[in-house]
């Protein structure tokens, strides 16, 4: 439990700095801003507050009541009941790595298992204890690559088919730094080979997404090779479910793999908390941000877990650390660990196959509806781009009347170059009937 300062302690502190009261401490804040009128309604009882919040919650639409074809980075997958049950056990139910971590062997073991699973899934050698979400993990990859070259290479190439929110987050992280981003000036739906001529000996990192934001699956062997020939690092942002059937990035030259871990047993929850996956090669481990749990033996020769290589972290290395962030999503990492353990290798493959086949069935059916065209020509995983006969925003509003949460309106992120374009996601949660309902609804809402 967190125990705040006692009155006695406060008095001693105030006395030490030579002031008489806490108010004196804030005198430099202009008086009119010191105690602003908040104009709050009177307090409620717990029962009243719960009633009010419940009322607000009922105003939301949710994926239990609607049939969802919305993805764009967050996916509606089935979450086995055991995930939540284990998560809520008192021994685990904290978002924090304990301040004396080695006392909590169970927490450390869970993180170690998580790291091992993600390393195996991505084909990488080392995985940290996680970041906030997929977007911040990409930003940490950029930080790491820049640190790896000690500032001697400052160019970072972001694929235009990277999640737009990842691009935004990288921009935020690198504001005011010497890192120069190259992104988005090229056609988002183009081929990743358009990145090739942009790679040079100033490039620290090339970042692609796999499957990309539009669901497409590309073979990145060549791109990785060209990046390496120029001396740059190569990072791949993944959807972990897709790796149930796709070649792990470690096998085609990734130096860093990041990803959004939400599909692994974490609810949509209006955007968070999610889970940032981050894995790399052993040779870069000292430049990696975040916490790292290692397995060792204690003084009796028994297996034990410790936080390791902590001299990388900002509390020791201060301003020289690659990142100022060591916070991880311990609880969400545990959820993904339980999820992956329950499904196993074959279960994960099965989920990925279901997503793949159902999405392809949906694409085939939608292409048959008059006025609709599937723009995705490449192999894709569980998401594809549909050109609609009218603005996607209007289609989505109409679909809601049918109890369907439509796709992601690409015009929202990309403007008019993506007008009337809908990104449709399909998961194992969508039945054949759901897909047929969508197809019928699309025909009805667009027929003259």
């Amino acid at each position: 439990m967190f125990i705040p300062h006692t009155d006695g302690e406060r008095e001693r502190m105030l006395h030490r700095i030579g002031i008489g009261s806490l108010e004196e401490l804030f005198l430099s804040v202009p008086a009119e801003h010191r105690f602003p009128q908040l104009n709050l309604p009177p307090g409620l009882t717990e029962m009243e507050a719960v009633g009010e919040l419940q009322g607000l919650a009922w105003g939301n639409e949710n994926t239990r009541d609607l049939v969802s074809f919305l993805g764009a980075g967050a996916y509606n997958h089935y979450i086995p009941a055991a995930v939540d049950f284990i998560l809520r056990r008192g021994e685990f139910y904290t978002a924090y790595t304990p301040y004396q971590p080695e006392v909590s062997q169970g927490t450390l073991q869970a993180i170690f298992e998580y790291q091992s699973l993600i390393a195996a899934l991505t084909g990488m050698e080392v995985c940290n204890a996680s970041h906030y979400d997929g977007a911040t993990a990409v930003a940490e990859a950029v930080n790491m690559a820049y640190a790896n070259f000690r500032g001697k290479r400052s160019k970072v190439l972001l694929s235009p088919a990277l999640h737009p929110q990842s691009i935004e987050t990288v921009k935020t992280y690198t504001t005011g730094s010497p890192i120069a981003l190259t992104a988005c000036e090229i056609e988002p739906l183009g081929d990743p080979d358009q990145l090739l001529p942009l790679i040079d000996n100033q490039t620290a990192l090339v970042v692609v997404q796999y499957p990309d934001f539009f669901g497409r699956i590309f073979d990145y062997h060549n791109l990785a090779q060209v990046a390496h020939q120029a001396g740059a690092l190569f990072a791949v942002a993944i959807n972990p479910i897709a790796l149930g059937i796709l070649t792990p990035p470690g096998e085609f030259g990734a130096d860093i793999v990041t990803g959004e871990g939400q599909p692994l047993g974490i609810p949509l929850s209006y955007g968070g908390p999610y889970l940032g996956l981050f894995a790399t090669k052993t040779e870069y481990v000292r430049k990696m941000a975040g916490r790292l749990v290692g397995e060792t033996v204690d003084n009796r020769g028994l297996r034990a877990y410790v936080l390791t290589l902590t001299a990388r972290e900002q509390h020791i290395r201060r301003e020289k650390a690659t990142s100022n962030i060591c916070t991880n999503q311990g609880l969400m990492a545990l959820a993904s660990t339980v999820y992956l353990s329950l499904l196993g290798k074959h279960g994960l493959k099965k989920v990925a196959e279901l997503c793949y086949h159902k999405a392809h069935y949906a694409a085939e059916k939608i292409a048959e509806v008059k006025g609709f065209q599937v723009l995705t020509e490449q192999p894709f995983f569980n998401e594809f781009v549909v050109k609609c006969p009218k603005p996607a925003k209007e289609i989505n509003a109409d679909l809601l009347e049918y109890g369907i949460l439509g796709g992601y309106d690409l015009e929202e992120a990309y403007g008019s170059i993506m007008e009337r374009s809908l990104l449709v996601a399909v998961t194992e949660m969508n039945t054949r009937e759901d897909i047929e309902t969508l197809v019928d609804a699309l025909a009805e809402v667009t027929h003259d």
Binding site: R150, R286, A311, R312, I316, R317, K320
Partner: protein, 129 residues
């Protein structure tokens, strides 16, 4: 504690061996003892770099701390100990020999007067306690 007479020192626990206009740089026996078991070293300058006195030239990491190594003098880097990264424990076992880090061509001999001699360094670490 070993503080060889023929070397010069900084108050930040670097040593430099001066042969004519060539300076060889490492960290002292006292520094390695304070850091304890060294598990990682990275020289952050490259051959040909012009570096100034006080610039960071290497990072050393032990099981309990990370420390920067700074240039005792200004100059041009002419050699880097490439082997050291693979055997960082040599900083503990042979800080003045195998664990040298960087060699420079000294560009401003006037700066040498600002370094400590063995007696001065001995006094400095005694005062630090």
């Amino acid at each position: 504690m070993n503080i060889p007479n023929q070397l010069k020192y900084t108050s930040n626990d670097e040593w430099i061996k001066i042969d004519g206009n060539i300076g060889t740089i490492g960290i002292t026996d006292y520094a390695q003892e304070q850091l304890s078991d060294i598990v990682f070293v990275e020289v952050v300058v490259s051959v040909g770099d012009q570096v100034s006195k006080g610039d960071s030239c290497a990072t050393v990491e032990s099981v309990k701390a990370a420390a920067d190594v700074y240039m005792p003098l200004s100059g041009k880097v002419i050699e880097v100990n490439e082997d050291l990264a693979g055997t960082p424990e040599q900083i503990n076992s042979d800080p003045y020999g195998a664990a040298w880090m960087v060699k420079i061509e000294i560009s401003d001999p006037g700066e040498i007067a600002g370094l400590l001699d063995a007696a001065g360094y001995q006094k400095h670490i005694q005062e630090k306690g």
